[in-house]
C-alpha cells in the first residue's frame, strides 16, 4: 500500500525549526555557508545533496552537537545558542549509525533516557514504543546481542520517548529490512501528522519523494533551493508534474547522471 505523502500544512502552523545564516567552518574550510530555512509543524523536509555537501554537519549543528561558527538556530522558539537546554528538550536526532551504550540493556536505555529528560510516567510510552518497533521481547538484551536494524529501532525508541517536536534523521533507512523501511516511513509520516517538524537527510531520493512535503538541496555547503516538492520540480523541470526528484537533483546540483 502506498503511503500518502504528508499534506502541506497551512502557513499558520507554528515554525518549529528556524535556521538563519548558519555557517560552519572546519579551520578555513567552509562545510556550511550562510544557510537559512525554516520547518513548520507537520512539515517533512528532505535534505539532499552530493557527498560532502554539508548535510550531516547541518544536522549536527541543528541538534546542538557541534557549535556553528556563525548563525542562529531556534528549536520551538528556543535559541540553541542562548537556551540550549530547552531547545534540546524538544528535539531528537538520529544519526546514521545508532549510538548506544554497550553495557545498558534495551530497558535500561529507556530508563536512562527517561531520567535524562525527566519523564515521570515514561513506562507506558516506552512499552508502546517497544511494541510499535517490535523489540518488546528484547528488553533485557544488550546492544551487542541485537542486529543492526534492532539497534536502530532502540535508538528510535529512546529518541521518541520524550515526544520531540523537532526531529532530525540522518540516513534513517540504513540497515533496515523492507518491513523496517515501511514502518520507518509510516512512523515519520505519523509523527509529522501529530505536529512534529521533521528534517531528513538521505541519498534515497525515492524515499524522500514518498515522505517529504518539502525539499532542500545543498551543494558545497550552500543552499541551492528549498520549497515544496512541486515548487522545486517547477524550478528545475520543464514538465513540472512529470519529473521525479532524482531528475530534479541532477539538474539542481549539476551532477552528471551518467549513462
Amino acid at each position: 500500500m502506498e503511503i500518502p505523502p504528508p499534506a502541506i500544512p497551512p502557513s499558520a502552523a507554528p515554525c518549529l525549526i528556524e535556521v538563519s545564516g548558519l555557517t560552519k567552518l572546519y579551520g578555513d574550510f567552509p562545510a556550511v555557508t550562510d544557510l537559512s530555512f525554516s520547518v513548520r509543524a507537520g512539515e517533512v523536509i528532505g535534505l539532499v545533496g552530493p557527498n560532502g555537501a554539508g548535510k550531516t554537519t547541518t544536522l549536527r549543528c541543528l541538534a546542538g552537537i557541534i557549535p556553528p561558527t556563525r548563525g542562529l538556530v531556534q528549536i520551538c522558539g528556543h535559541g540553541m545558542g542562548r537556551d540550549p537546554i530547552e531547545a534540546k528538550r524538544r528535539l531528537a536526532f538520529f544519526p546514521d549509525e545508532p549510538r548506544l551504550f554497550d553495557y545498558l540493556t534495551v530497558a535500561q536505555h529507556l530508563t536512562f533516557t527517561a531520567r535524562i529528560y525527566n519523564l515521570p510516567h515514561y513506562e507506558e510510552t516506552a512499552r508502546a514504543l517497544l511494541e510499535e518497533l517490535e523489540i518488546a521481547d528484547k528488553a533485557d538484551k544488550l546492544p551487542g546481542e541485537l542486529s543492526r536494524g534492532m539497534k536502530q529501532k532502540l535508538a528510535i525508541a529512546c529518541g521518541f520517548l520524550h515526544a520531540p517536536s523537532a526531529i532530525f534523521f540522518d540516513e534513517p533507512l540504513t540497515g533496515l529490512d523492507p518491513l523496517g523501511i515501511r514502518r520507518m516511513k509510516d512512523s515519520i509520516v505519523k509523527r509529522a501528522a501529530a505536529g512534529a517538524a521533521i528534517l531528513i537527510s538521505s541519498h534515497l531520493l525515492h524515499l524522500l519523494e514518498e515522505v517529504c512535503s518539502h525539499v532542500l538541496i545543498l551543494k558545497d555547503g550552500r543552499k541551492i533551493i528549498d520549497g515544496t516538492m512541486d515548487e522545486v520540480r517547477g524550478k528545475f523541470s520543464e514538465a513540472a508534474s512529470g519529473a521525479n526528484l532524482e531528475e530534479v537533483f541532477f539538474r539542481a546540483t549539476g551532477e552528471n547522471k551518467g549513462p
Binding site: 572546519y26 552537537i65 557541534i66 537546554i85 519523564l119 533485557d140
Partner: protein, 584 residues
C-alpha cells in the same frame, strides 16, 4: 601474487609513515614527537653513552657463568616451545586485519601466499623485538649488532614454531586427537624427561650442598652446571642450545659459526609451515573480528569488553525517572564498571573488611603482623590515588566516543561532567574507605614508639576518609580535562594515533597532570596547616581535634577547587567539538 602482497605491505607502511610525518606539521604532534624522541634517546642511547663516556658505546658486561646461562636459555626455549603444544586449544588462525580479510580472502590468493604475507609482516615486529631485547638485555660480552642478529634468529624460530605448531594441532584435531589427549602426551613426555633428569642427578651426582647456608649463589651455580653438562639434559637441550647459541657469540666469527645451524632450523621450520595443508581461513576471519573488537574496546576505554563476553549487569540502584539528570550518567557508568560495583557488593566488602580486620588484629597482636598489614593498607590507599584515576576510566575517556549522544542531552555541561566523574570517584573512594577501615582496625596503640590513642586513630581515619574523595575527584578531573581539551592527545575512539609523538604526548599529559594535581593540593595543605595550628591552640592542644580541623579546612578548599573544575570543564564540554580534531 607475491608482488601484489609486497606492494600492499610496502605501501601500507610507507603511507603510515608519511601520514605520521605529515601530522608533525601540527604543533601538538611535533611537540609530542620531540618529547617522545628525547625520552627514547635518553632512555636507550643516552644511558648507553653515559656509561661509556661521550661518543662511545660500552661493551656488554661479561657473564660469570656463560655455559650455565646458555643452558638455562636453552631450557627456557624448550619450555616456551613446549607450552605452544600444551596451552592453546583453538584451531590454527592467522591474524589479519579486517581490511586484509576483506581484500585477500575472496581474492585468487593461495593459502601459501597468505602464509608468506603473514611471515613477511611478522618480520617488522621481529626486528623491532630483536632491537628492543638487545637494548634491555645488555649482558654476555659481544656487541650490539651481533646480538640483534642472534635475537632475530631466535625470535624467527619461535614465530615459525608458533605457526607450525598451530597447524599441527589443527591437523591432530582433524584426525580425532582431542586437545586433552595431545596435552596429556606432551605433559607426559615432559614429565618423563624431568623425572629421568632428576633420577640421574640423584644417582650419578654427589648430594647437592646446603644452599641455605651458602654465602652466595656459586654453590648453586656449580651444582646446576653439573646437571646441565652431564647426563641426559645436554642431549635433550642440544637443539635448543643451537638456537640460542648466536646470542652468546662474542665476535663475528663465533656468530657465523653459530648462525649456520640456526639458519638450518629456520629452514626446516619454514618447510614445515609451508607444507602444512591446514585450512585456517575461517578461524582467521573470526580471530581478526575478535581482535578488531578488542582493539576498539580497549581504545575506547572499555577494558572489560576486551577480556570477556558481555552480559547484562544488575543496576547498582533503582533509577527513578524523575530527579537530577546527572544521576542517570552516574548510574550508567556504575553499570559499565561491572557487577562488583553494586550496593550489595560493597556491603559484603565492608563486612569482610571488618571481620578480616578483627581476626588479623587478634592474630597479629604479638607478632606485629597487624601493624605491618595496617601499613600495607595505607600504602595501597596512597598508591590508589596515583593509579586509580588511570585504571578507572568509566568517565569521558569511555564516553567521548558517544559524545554526539551526550551533547544531545538537555543538561548543562557541568552536570554532564559531574555525572561522568562521579562513578570512578565513588568506586575509588569506596575502595579507599575499605583500606582505611582495615588500617584503623589493625593500627596498634603505638606507632613507632609514639602513642596512638583511640581518639587520635578515629580522628585520623575520619579525616582521611573526608579528604581522600576530594583528592580522588580532582585527580579524576585532570585526565577528563585532558580528554576534553586535547582529545587528539588521549586514547579515544577507534583510530587512536601511535608512535613517538603519541608517547611524547602521553608523557607531557602525565607530567602535566602530576604538576596540576600537586599545585591544586597546595592551597588545601596550606589551609589545613593553618586550621591545625588554630585548633591546636584553641582547643587545648588536643591532637585529634586539630587533625579533624585540618581535614575540614582542606576538604573545604578541595571541594571549592573541584566545583570550579567541574564548572570550567562543563564549559569546555559545551564548546567541545570533536569534529575539529577529526573532520568527517
Amino acid at each position: 601474487m607475491g608482488r601484489a602482497l609486497l606492494y600492499l605491505e610496502w605501501h601500507s607502511r610507507w603511507n603510515r609513515l608519511r601520514a605520521r610525518l605529515q601530522r608533525l606539521r601540527q604543533p601538538k604532534y611535533l611537540f609530542g614527537a620531540v618529547v617522545g624522541g628525547l625520552y627514547f634517546y635518553w632512555y636507550v642511547f643516552g644511558a648507553l653513552r653515559g656509561r661509556a663516556g661521550p661518543g662511545r658505546t660500552p661493551p656488554m658486561p661479561a657473564l660469570e657463568h656463560p655455559a650455565l646461562v646458555e643452558s638455562l636459555a636453552a631450557l627456557v626455549l624448550l619450555v616456551v616451545l613446549l607450552l605452544m603444544w600444551i596451552i592453546p586449544h583453538e584451531r590454527a588462525a592467522l591474524l589479519f586485519t579486517e581490511a586484509e580479510v576483506a581484500f585477500l580472502f575472496p581474492a585468487p590468493v593461495g593459502r601459501r601466499a597468505l602464509i608468506h604475507f603473514k611471515l613477511l609482516k611478522s618480520q617488522a615486529a621481529i626486528l623491532f623485538s630483536a632491537l628492543f631485547m638487545t637494548l634491555i638485555g645488555r649482558w654476555g660480552g659481544g656487541n650490539y649488532g651481533l646480538r640483534v642478529i642472534g635475537w632475530w634468529g631466535l625470535l624467527s624460530i619461535i614465530n615459525l614454531h608458533l605457526l607450525g605448531s598451530s597447524f599441527a594441532r589443527t591437523l591432530l584435531l582433524d584426525r580425532g586427537i582431542s586437545n586433552w589427549r595431545r596435552r596429556l602426551f606432551f605433559l607426559g613426555g615432559a614429565g618423563l624427561a624431568a623425572a629421568a633428569v632428576i633420577l640421574w642427578a640423584r644417582q650419578a651426582l654427589p648430594a647437592p650442598p646446603d644452599f641455605s647456608s651458602a654465602p652466595d649463589l656459586s654453590a648453586l651455580a656449580g651444582y646446576a652446571g653439573q646437571v646441565f653438562q652431564s647426563g641426559p639434559l645436554p642431549w635433550l637441550l642440544a637443539p635448543f642450545r643451537l638456537a640460542v647459541a648466536p646470542l652468546f657469540a662474542a665476535n663475528a666469527r663465533q656468530l657465523c659459526l653459530a648462525f649456520g645451524p640456526v639458519l638450518g632450523i629456520i629452514g626446516l621450520h619454514y618447510c614445515w609451515v609451508i607444507r602444512s595443508n591446514v585450512a585456517f581461513e575461517e578461524a582467521s576471519v573470526e580471530l581478526s573480528q575478535k581482535f578488531a573488537d578488542r582493539i576498539a574496546a580497549m581504545r575506547s576505554g572499555n577494558w572489560q569488553a576486551m577480556s570477556k563476553p558481555r552480559k547484562s549487569k544488575r543496576p547498582p540502584f533503582l533509577l527513578r525517572p524523575e530527579g537530577w539528570p546527572a544521576a542517570a550518567i552516574f548510574w550508567k557508568n556504575l553499570i559499565s564498571a561491572g557487577q562488583f560495583f553494586t550496593g550489595r557488593a560493597w556491603f559484603f566488602l565492608l563486612w569482610i573488611t571488618v571481620i578480616a580486620g578483627i581476626i588479623l588484629r587478634s592474630a597479629g597482636r604479638h607478632s606485629g603482623g597487624g601493624a605491618a598489614l595496617a601499613i600495607l593498607a595505607v600504602t595501597l590507599g596512597v598508591m590508589s590515588l596515583l593509579y586509580g584515576p588511570a585504571i578507572l576510566r568509566y568517565d569521558f575517556r569511555q564516553d567521548l566516543r558517544v559524545a554526539d549522544v551526550l551533547k544531545l542531552y538537555p543538561m548543562p555541561g557541568w552536570q554532564v561532567v559531574l555525572g561522568e566523574i562521579l562513578a570512578p570517584a565513588a568506586i575509588l573512594a569506596a575502595a579507599q574507605w575499605a583500606l582505611l577501615l582495615l588500617a584503623f582496625l589493625l593500627c596498634p596503640a603505638s606507632v613507632g614508639g609514639a602513642p596512638a590513642p583511640m581518639g587520635l586513630r578515629i580522628a585520623a581515619t575520619l579525616s582521611a576518609a573526608l579528604v581522600l574523595p576530594c583528592v580522588d575527584f580532582i585527580a579524576l578531573l585532570l585526565p577528563n580535562a585532558a580528554a576534553l581539551i586535547f582529545p587528539a592527545w588521549v586514547q579515544l575512539g577507534k583510530d587512536a594515533p601511535r608512535g613517538f609523538e603519541t608517547m611524547g604526548q602521553q608523557l607531557i599529559l602525565m607530567f602535566g597532570q602530576i604538576i596540576v594535581l600537586t599545585l591544586s593540593m597546595l592551597p588545601a595543605a596550606l589551609a589545613g596547616a593553618v586550621a591545625y595550628l588554630i585548633a591546636w591552640w584553641l582547643f587545648g592542644k588536643v591532637m585529634a581535634v586539630a587533625v579533624v580541623s585540618c581535614a575540614l579546612a582542606a576538604v573545604l578548599l578541595l571541594a571549592a577547587e573541584a566545583a570550579l573544575g567541574v564548572f570550567l570543564l562543563g564549559k569546555a564540554f559545551e564548546r567541545f567539538d570533536w569534529s575539529e580534531d577529526s573532520p568527517e
